[in-house]
Every structure is written in structure tokens, then in C-alpha cells.
Symmetry: C2
Subunit: 867 residues, 2 copies
Amino acid sequence: MRNLLGGKGANLAEMAALGLPVPPGFTITTEACAAFLADGGLDLSGDVARQAREALQDIEEQMGRRFGSATDPLLVSVRSGAPASMPGMMDTVLNLGLNGTTVEGLARASGSDRFAWDSYRRFIQMYCGVVLDLDHGDFEDILDEIKDEEGISEDSGLTAASLKEVVARFRHHAHSRLHEPFPEDPFEQLWGAVRAVFRSWNNRRAVDYRRIHGIPDTPGTAVNVQAMVFGNMGEDCATGVAFTRNPDTGTRTPFGEYLANAQGEDVVAGLRTPWPIASADDGTSLEERMPDAWAELVSVMDRLEQHFRDMQDVEFTIERHRLFMLQTRNAKRSVQAALKVAVDMATEGLITRREALMRIDPRDLDRLLHPVPDPCAPRQVIARGLPGSPGAASGMAVFHADDAQALGAEGRAVILVRPETSPEDIHGMHAARGILTRHGGQTSHAALVARGMGRPCVTGAGGIRVDPAKDLLVTGSVTIRKGDIITIDGSTGEVIAGEIPTRQPEQSGEFEIFMAWADEARTLGVRANAETPADAARAREFGADGIGLCRTEHMFFEDGRIIAMREMIMAEDVEGRRRPLERILPMQRADLVELFRTMAGLPVTVRLLDPPLHEFLPTGLRELEELARHTGTDVEHVRLRAASLRELNPMLGHRGCRLGISHPEIYEMQVRAILEAALEAERAEGEPVHLEIMVPLVATGRELAVIRQSIDAVAAAVAAEAGERPHYQVGTMIELPRAALQAGDIARSADFFSFGTNDLTQTVFGISRDDSGRFIERYLEEDIFAEDPFVTLDTEGVGEFVALASTRGRCTKSDLGLGICGEHGGDPASIAFCHRTGLDYVSCSPYRIPIARLAAAQAAIQEQDSS
Amino acid sequence: MRNLLGGKGANLAEMAALGLPVPPGFTITTEACAAFLADGGLDLSGDVARQAREALQDIEEQMGRRFGSATDPLLVSVRSGAPASMPGMMDTVLNLGLNGTTVEGLARASGSDRFAWDSYRRFIQMYCGVVLDLDHGDFEDILDEIKDEEGISEDSGLTAASLKEVVARFRHHAHSRLHEPFPEDPFEQLWGAVRAVFRSWNNRRAVDYRRIHGIPDTPGTAVNVQAMVFGNMGEDCATGVAFTRNPDTGTRTPFGEYLANAQGEDVVAGLRTPWPIASADDGTSLEERMPDAWAELVSVMDRLEQHFRDMQDVEFTIERHRLFMLQTRNAKRSVQAALKVAVDMATEGLITRREALMRIDPRDLDRLLHPVPDPCAPRQVIARGLPGSPGAASGMAVFHADDAQALGAEGRAVILVRPETSPEDIHGMHAARGILTRHGGQTSHAALVARGMGRPCVTGAGGIRVDPAKDLLVTGSVTIRKGDIITIDGSTGEVIAGEIPTRQPEQSGEFEIFMAWADEARTLGVRANAETPADAARAREFGADGIGLCRTEHMFFEDGRIIAMREMIMAEDVEGRRRPLERILPMQRADLVELFRTMAGLPVTVRLLDPPLHEFLPTGLRELEELARHTGTDVEHVRLRAASLRELNPMLGHRGCRLGISHPEIYEMQVRAILEAALEAERAEGEPVHLEIMVPLVATGRELAVIRQSIDAVAAAVAAEAGERPHYQVGTMIELPRAALQAGDIARSADFFSFGTNDLTQTVFGISRDDSGRFIERYLEEDIFAEDPFVTLDTEGVGEFVALASTRGRCTKSDLGLGICGEHGGDPASIAFCHRTGLDYVSCSPYRIPIARLAAAQAAIQEQDSS
């Protein structure tokens, strides 16, 4: 009933039903929230108030306390709880029910004046902030004022008498600001809090969070009203947050933090550095300090995990040695942990392998694969903190969320550095490559949010001083100013000056097991887009089934080749072009021999020259001069030639097979290099090369027919010279709408199609990817696009072309090979589409291979489940 | 049987069957040609030779002369004749059968030694050129040599004795060049000539001509072997070319030219200026000089026209007062003539109105509509010639076909000036805007070819001297050098120095009648693309049914507006943009009021801003400074802003409805201006404005829905202010492949679609029109594209999208309006496609309106005929 009760409410109800120690309470539904907001957000309906009063009576009975009682008052917490988890995004009020009368009752019942008045002042402060919209800082100022007057520095130094004075001044401040007294009637307090939680659904940070995380705007949040239990009634009290397994590593031991004599907010806010719950052998752990409560907590967590069949993240409070569970939910975890938990749980028999595969968002694997700082590289570690969220990141230090957003929007890598983070910083955290905070532990806001976003994060770096006003951080002798480059390693907690080299992380044993399960489940092939032998080797290591796209032009940009390429372009006629092409041939062939040998036994798709020629020409004066010298002309001549090749819309220009047809000698050289390389690699490896030659930018069957004829002619010549027939297939990119329509005709000359969904998306939408930044952001904001079509394949438009071309192509040739080699080949949603559409494989960058393998497995599982 | 016998052969056979006086002959079929060429083009098959010998015996019997006879020899002509007319493109041999023996027989039979030896020397010269591939000039040199020796200047001064010497030297020259004697055996001569004609099918000028005119390369040419009759046997002989009606004006009087005592080649070659056939009251006409032959000719032409039901173009020879018809064919004619002939013939009852409509190629109407030199403009007429092909053209004078081609390819307007033209000049004539020759009449090669190509042409401008070697022409005191601008008026024969202003030609009465017939026949609407009231008025005058595309941004480029537009673009925020937009609003409104009033009662489709903003920014320093001054910034700032707006692929950039969504204030201003203008025009004219507001570059239904909502909101505001509801429809361009696919969804917010086939062609093919010049020419040459897809709608690709979007759109909304507003809207083949696909209208530039009306009529007629 998550949708009606919210995640927290549903889990509380479920925990209560399991007989776990949950403070009694009730939940006001998301439906009531939707009705309230739809109705203008002014007053709660009579029904809601009546039912709430009735439910409150039940709580009173269960707790043996009465709401508003002058002797032993019932206090309640009022918390939001939406269907989707939005940690810290909305508002909470604690200790509700306190007033001039009930505070005395609480003092009596708890035996502590100080506790009662401290609770009261906390309540006023919180209520004023959350419900009455007064500035939190003003109350801190009053508190500081009184501490100054009394000459004390810590809150804990305040006596009951001083706290009474605090309360008096708080109430006076509220009265003068609001022009009416702070509410005394507990029910008035309750209705005010419920309304405020409802309204908080639409505050900016909640709206931002939903947008970033793709959470729908309806129905709204539920409100959980629960009897207060106190972790701050003395040293036999505590409050904490715990995970059933380690959320960073996945290790099967409870993990968490707690504070003795504190309320839950103190842990999450990160203002006090908490202690670990499990024994750290220094006497600080909950296990050591409250062994009975600890034993009960461990047992409760075990039951929860068995019940929910997933790792849980709980909040608990211990009131005078008695354990209360305040919340449970499926725990957020690092991807390393998620992987280990999934594999462990499947091994434990708690879930199936298929369930384990469905538990990981393929996109998260990305974080396992990207380089980490080279541990051997010299580094200037300027501070150490807690490993808040794994991974490493370098970037310019910035000290405000807005700066992070502004520079991030310009494509700059930034590290957001804050004393601590709060929900107001969400947009900056999203824009940053990494987050560094001075305060807070591994369950602080910064760590939680960063882990959710997949940003590396270091928290609790106590050795640094962060001064946002001056845009700097100081650590011992080092001062880092805004714009200085720093590196953080969220896996170790290190903060390093400057940028340092990175290397490939090693994979855990669970990773190998998990990916092997994925390979068993999937039917879709996964190939890599790779040109260099290094990339090809990495692709094999990551489990690629072959190379789906080797862009031959990348080889032309290397030193010693580019000048020959440029000479070719400068030539006036075919003969002038053939000479430099003959110099390029052996280089291209040598590169390909190495690539083919690396991929021995697997298919390799080699694409012929695609970009327009002007992309190869230089713009710098030195290079222009060099080219002029090489070609025996002058700089002006070279400039003119470059200008004559320039295009208004190069994306739609003289490139791809159009060049192959107007300058046949280029493709002839390339085809010869490819075929000779294949023969050489076969001889060397003793294994056949599964070669696929791919022609780009075909729009008509005739184009491909003409080029195929020329490929076959070169192949015949090579065979005659070598005394050996090279084996190859010829296919084409389907990357133009017309090609998709004409797929039936094109398939006559094609052995395979590879959908070039980058260009296909550009032409189908009429949007230049390079120029789309100006409006796509707006389109996403206004929901005109649900997704960026360059990230996730547009199934309605581009997808219809892919499906149509597949059908028409296979109608002509039933065994036509079908793949996709655009960026979408590494996007899980797009991979699911490719699976459903019956393609043979996707091809993506080497780092995305594991993502694609898992996404393909999930697509296969989903298909089986829905059939 | 044109395909088997060729046009000439089939017509000769048909004339013979009609009992008309045709010299006996036979035709060797195109099949024999194809077989001969396929077989390597070396020897005629035994079958062909045997059948030819038999047919020759028939001729001998009919003529009472024998082939090779020493007393009264039969001579024959050997002429090519392909299924499609290719005037002057292939080879002909006359007087075949002459040798040392038969020349004496001919002398005896004709009673003239001189005639016989002149015929013999002509035969040798022609045979050596056509069959033996010797240089024609060498023979001219020998002739000049002998004339020098004898001290005479004209060919006619040569005596029989000198001609014998000419023949001796010709034969000697041929023998020494060929290392074998000139063939004496008449059959050997015949086989040589037939083989040469067959081979001439593949000579360069024939291949060029076929490519330019879209004539297929198969099957080949037929060969017509016919008994020679002589127009040059004395003053009672003549030869000529005649049309059954005037080919320039269409007037129903025979028209033609002849030469007395001459062979046909003399007329066509244009070396002697011929006399008119019909009486010119100066005693030179055929009518006056040979009244009997004239009467018979007129009667024969009348029968031919009745029989072929079309105007004919005949060749005739009069041998000693006896008329022989050598050829008849449907006559080439100017479009003025074609129009008059079609209307007259339908009025005469010879053909139906529908046939009349099918007789005109709609593209030819173009020539009736384009401006002619303003007759009132001052002009320096430097020469007068004959009106060879109607229309006027200005351009740089060039004196070689190759120069014309080279400069034409650069987009330069050139006039090709030659002493006379020959088939070797075809490529230059095609590249030129007009042709001027010193020699030749109205049936000369230059005039015939120019008329076929629709190029203005002035021939026979005897007052000029053309010196190709020096690249100049001299006329009295004026010298025109290569590159100087001249104007020719092919309707009057004037040659004018420099360029002169032009004005709209007046239309003949037949034009009005013909277009009215077209309107009766067509079902497709024809609208105009027009922005200015002047264009709109012209469109109405040309018979437009409304405006299908008014591009509002064109109004922004005018003085006083562009600066406001630029200020708007420079503004940093919405408010900064609103101020200049408010200044633009009344100007846009005023323009539109005028446009709506001009089009009162007819639909007007107004498109909202389409191009990217950077197109409006200046590049010149002075304008940059002005803009900086206006906006209170500096030039550097303006430059930076312009640079920030620049796009890599502007065609696929931030434009169209993308701007409308990111800068809603622009469309709001435009919509307000449009609606207010419509209300004002309605009040002024008392007639409703049929307003259609069109949103460009839509790719998703959501885009249009968002903008439609904003249009409706502005309309509600305008209605509230004006106290009157403006009436309008909202629709969109379908110009992106995705829009075509999503047409069903888009139609939910659209009242009409207008296919923007320019952009649709660009995105469907992935070809930038502006950059396609580099390879489309090559694609056409290599037959990869059958047509330039930017000229004729690609029915396979782009057309499938148009059809698909029409179906899907009308599936959502059955009364959805459908039109097309790309350049294709004026292309006849594309119009036929639009008719078949069920569109409501096409929209094209005003000058193309009549073309579109006729093409639409033809499409309707063709559909009815085929159903």
C-alpha cells in the first residue's frame, strides 16, 4: 500500500503487523494530501480531522498517556512519507503536543526538568521553521545570545532554567514576528504540522529532487503521526540509523551509527559525529554499551530482511533501554554493495538468480568500471575524511551550489566543497563531479544523496576548514581557492591537491559471478565500439562478443598519417590522391592486423571513412605552413582549399558513402588494407577473422550496390595477388530515414545492417546533437521530451524506423544481421528496445559493455516474465 | 513502330502508306543496330546484308535505275533515325553509289557534267568525314587550294573540269591517309555507311544529347536507305524544311525555308541564308517561284496534319518540279506556338480539350511567364538577327562551349556566341542562358536546339563578326570581349550591349483559354508562396487559389525592423526581448493587413518565425557598431553574442517551434499581430479572412499542443480587447521524418498539415541542400539518383513519408487539410504525386502557379485515363 500510505507509513504498518516494536501511530494517506493540495492547500477536511482524533485516542490508550495531559502527556512526531523515497526532502516535526502546561507534565513524567524544557525549545524551533516559516537562524542567534550571557559554549551546558528563558524568548520572538502567539492548543499544533507536511510536497527542493530522480508529481506525501519516543531522555537512551548489511561493501554485518542521549535528527544532520553501532572495541559501540538493545536490534533487522527479502535501512530509538523501530526501508547502497548483496542473497537462497539480476540498475555498474586514482601515482593528500560515496573525481573546487551548477552547465568538472550539505544544495551536488564536506558521517545528507546520484563523496573531513564566504578551504598549510583543482577519492576518503592519474579498478569476485549469470540470461549480443588494440583488449576483458564499430578514420588522425591524409585532400585529381593513399595503406593495414589479432575468433565490423574531408584539414598557422611545404603550395592556397571544402551543415554534407562514390580511390585503399590485414591476421593466429565491412550514410540501394561492387572487385584483386580468398561480409549503417524506408532494397546488397542511432536520431528529429544543448534542457524541463533522445532511444520515432528497417530488411534477406552501434547501445532502456525488436546485438563503448550485458539479461528476463 | 524503325523510318513508312510522294527506300531496324553494337560493332550480319540487297532491288525497280549502273545509276542516301528525335546528332551520307563509272552515268542521265562531279566530290567529302573518320577541314583546304589556283572565290565558280581535279585530289588524299584506295564498290560504300550510322549512336555528342534530354541508351538507331532525289540538279530543283504552322507563333500558315538548286544539308547547316517558302512578295518564295510544287506541298502538309493530328515539320526536295517528301515528324515549337496550336486544334475539332491540355509540358509555360526586356528601357542595340528561340537573356559573352560550361557550372550567366553552332557545342548551349550566332536561319542547328532546350536564341546576325580565337565579337563600332555583358532577345532578334531591365510579358488570349480548361480539369488546389503584397497580387493574377506559405520572418529583414529584431536577440532576458518585440508588432501587423486585404476571400497560411536567430545578426563592422550603439554595449559584446548563437549545423539547430518554445514571447507577438491584422482586414474588406497559422519544425505532438495552447490564449486576449473573435485554424509543417511518423498524434492539435518537402528531403536523405552541389551532380551522372531530389520529389523516400503522414493524420482527423509548400509544389512530376496522394493543394512561387495548374490538370486527366 505504498502508494496510499507512502513508503514509511506502509513499512511502519508492516512492521507493526510483524509484531516488531514500533511506537503506536497512524498514517494520513497520500489521497488526503492530493485532495488537500487540489483544494488549494488551506484547510484539512472535517473527515481527516475526525479520523485523526479517533486514531489519536488509540495511541493514547496504547501508550497510557494523553495528548495535552498536564501530568503524563503524549507527544507525537509528524513526518512525511511519500510513495517513493525522498530522503530529507520534506518536513518533520517532533515533540508535538508540548505547551506551557504539558511541558511540566513531561518534566514530571521523565523526572528531568532539563529534558522537558530542552524538548520544548526544540519543538518550538522546529515548528517555527517547518510550520510557521520563520528563519531557523534567528532561533540559533537567540540560543547563542543566552549561551553568551551565561558564558557557556555547548548546548549541553544549558540548565533547565536557561532553557526556560530560551523558551520564553523563542515564544516572544515568534509572537512578534507572527503577530499572534505561538499555538498552545496541541490539536492546533497537530493540524498545523499536518498541513505543513502536505505543503512541503511542493517546496522547491522536493520538486527538484523529483525532477532529478524522475519521481512523479502525484499523488503526494502521506503523513505519519506517531507517539514520540525519546532517545534523548538520558544516557540510557540513544537513537541511530542502521543497515542490515554494509551499504558500501555489502558485507553481511549490521552497519550503522548512533548517538547516545540524542534525537534522530542529530544523526542525520551530521552536526555531531556519531559512533558506530557494531563493536569497534573502543567501548563506544552500541553493541558494547547497550548489549540487550543491540541483540534485539540485530534480531529485528534479521526478521526485516527475511520479510522484505532485501537489505534494510532502519531508524531506531532506544528509550531507557527499550528499543523502538521508527522506520525501515530497502537500503540505498553503493553498487559494490548492491552487487555483493544480490549475489550473496541469491547464494543464501533468499532470492533467485533472476531476481538478483533484476536488483541492479545496469547504469550503476558504470561506477565499478571507471578508473580510480592510480595508487602508485605521487599524490599530495591534503586531508582525510570518511568514504561517503565510492569513486574518485577531480575538478575545480567551488563552495556554493549555485557556482557548481553554473560551471557544471558550462561543462566544467567541479567538486562541491561545503561545511555540510543540506537539501538546498541538491542542484549543486547534481552538477558536481564530487562532493566534499567537513562535517557529517557516512549516513549524513551529503553521503546519502551522493551515493544515490553516483557521485564520489568524502564526508567528515574534520581537518579542513571550509569558508564559503571567502570561497576557500584551508587544511594545515594548504589553501585551496575557488577554481583550484582537487581530487577526492570517495572510496578511501582522501582529499588530494591537483589532478592525479587514474587506473582501472579491479573487479570483485561477485562481479564475475554476477556477469556470468547475466550472460546466461541474455540472448542479445554485446559488442564494442573500438578502434585501438588497447580498447579492443579492454572490450574483450569486459566480455564483449566482438567489435560492432571500428571507425577507420580515427587511425588517420595519428601523427605521420594526418599529413598524408591532408596531402590527399589537397590533391587536385585522382592521381594526386592515389600517391598519399598508397603511403597510408600499409599503416592502416598494420593497425588492423593488430586489431584483428586481438579479436581473433570474434566478429569485427570495420566502417569505411565517414567524416567529411574538411575535418582532417588543419586550422593552426604552423600546421597550415607544414602542409603548404609538403604539398609545394603556400598557406593561402591551403586556406582556400579548406574554405572550399567547408560546409554549412557538415552533418548533412559530403561524407560517408558520398565520399566513397565521388572519391572511389579512398575506399579502394581502405578495402585493400582491411582485406590484406584480415589475411595476415588469419595466417598469424590460425583462426578465421570474422570480418564485416560497413559502408556509412547510405540512403539508397544503388549507393550500396555501387560500393559493394567495388569492394568485391578489390577483393578479387587481393585474392589473385595473395592466392587466398579473403572472407568478408558487406553491410551498411542504417542512419538515415530514407535508408530505413528503403531497407528492403538496400538489403539486396547487404549482409548486415547496423543502426547508427546517433545520426538517425539527428535526422529523424532534425536536431543537430552538437547544437541541441540550447533547447533540449528546456524541452526536458517542460516535459516536451520525456528523455534526451540522444541518451535514450526514442522508441516512438527513431524506434519505429529501426523496427521498420528490420522488418523490411529481413523480408528481403531472412538471415540479415542486425545490430546497433550508436551511443544508445550502452543505454539500458534502449537495449531493452533492441531486445524486443529482435536485433542480434548492440555495440557500445568498452566501459559500457557490462552495463549492456546486464541490461540485455534484464530485457530477456522481463520478456519471459511478461509472456 | 517508332521503336523498331526509328521516328524517321516509321514516318516515312506511314507517309508512303498514305500514298504521299516519298522516294522509295527501306529501313534497317534499331534491333539490327543493337545486335551490331552488342556484337562489338565490327561487321553487319549476313541477314542484314541479304535483306538490304533485296530491298535495294525493289528501289531499283521503282526508280527505273540500277545501283552501280554506268548509264543511269541509282544513288541512295543513308540516314540515321532513332526512336526519339535527336536532330543533327548522328550521321548521314548522301549521294552514295557514286564512283569513277557511275559518275559518268549520272552526268549522262542528268545532262550535267558539273552536277555529277559536284555530287561526287560532295559524296567523297561526306563519306570520308562520316565513315572513314578523316578531317573535314583537309578537304576544305584542298577545295580552297584549287579555287586559289583558278582565281575564283565561290564554289559555284568551279567548272566540271576543276571538280574532276577536286575529286582526283580528294581520292588521292584519302588513299594516302588510309593507305588504301577510296572504295569504288557501291555495296562496300553502303555497308560502310550503315556501320558508321550504327556506330554514331555512341559518339560523344549523341551520348551527351541523350543524357541532357533523358533519352534511353537502348535500343539504338535505325538506318534509312532511300533513293536520292536531287534538289541541286538545276534551277528547277530545290530543297527545304517546312512547318505546317508557324513554330514560333503557332499561326495557321505554312512556314519554312528553302534553297533553290541545293541539297538539304545546305539548309540545315546554315551556311547559305535560305528564302521563305510562303510568299514574301519579293519573288523569292517557293509559292511564287514554283507554284505547282507549292500547291502540292501545302496539300501534302494538310494531309499530314490531319493524319498525325499534330503540327508537322517536314523536309522536302523538288527534283525538276517534282515534289518528294523526305521526312515528317511532330514539329518542335516554341511554347507560345504550342499553346496556340493546342487551343486552335481543339477549337478546330482536330483534338479534344483534354488532348490539348496533355500537349503542353507544364515546365515550358515557365518561358511565357518570365520577364522580357522592358521595351521602354533605353537600349543600345548593337546588332539584329533572326528570332531563333523566344525569350530574353543577359549574361557574359563567351565564345567557346567549354567556357560556357565552366562558367555556367560556377553559376554565372553566360551567352554563348558562335559563328554557327554544331553538335559539338551542345554542352555549352545547355550551360548558357542564351545563344547568339552569326550564321544560320530559324531552322538552323542553333535555333532548333535552343528551342528544344528553352534557351533564348538569336541566329543569322549577319552584322556581327565573331572571332572565337580572340574571344571577341565586333559589330560596327562596338567590340564585345569575353566577359562583357550582353542581352539577346530571341523574340525580336535584337542583340543589346549590357543588361537591361525586364518586365512581365503579356499573355495571349490562348493562354487564358488554355488555363481555364486546365482549371476545369484539375481537382488539386494551387496556392502561392508569397510574403509581399506585390507577390500576392501577382499570385492572384496567375490564378492562385490562396497563399500556402507566408514566411513572416521575411518582414523582419526590412529596414527599421532588423534593428529591433537584433535588439531582441541581444537581450539577456524575457523582459529585454519584449520591448523590441513591441516595436515590431505594429509593423508586422500592418504588413499582414495589406496581405490579407490583397487575398480577401482566399485562404492565407501564415508561418511563424522559422530561421535560427543568428541569421538576423549582422557581420559587417558598421552594422555591428550600430547594433552596439543601439543596445548600449560594445562591438566585442555583440560579436560574442553572435558567436554564442552560431551553430555547427544550423539546419538542424535552434529554430522553428524550438524557438517558439524557448522564447514564447516571439510567437506571442507574432500571433497577436496576425490576429489583429485579420480582424482589421475583415473590417476593411467586409469579407472574412481565411487565416491559417502554421507552426514550423514540429517533431512531436506535444510541441504543437503547447504552442497551440499559447495561440489560443493570445486569441482569447485579442478577442476580449477587440470585442470580436478572430477566426483561424492552427496547423503545422510536416518537414521532419519524426513528424511524419507521429502525424496521428500531431493531428490532435492540428487543423491542417503542410508538407515542407525542402526540409523533409534534407532530413530524409540526410543531405544539406546547400552542401549537396559537391556530389549530387556526380550522383546524377552515375545514375545513383534518377532526379535531383530537391527538384523532383523523391516519391520512394520522401513520398512515402508524405503518404504515411497523410494517412495517419486523416485517421485522427478525417477533415485534416493537406498541402505541400516546398519547391516541389511547382514541379510537375511532384504535383502528379501530390494529386495521387490525395493532398488538397500545392503551394509554389507565383511564377510557377500556371505550371502547377496545368500539371494538376494533367495529373487528373492521367488518373481518369488510367482508371
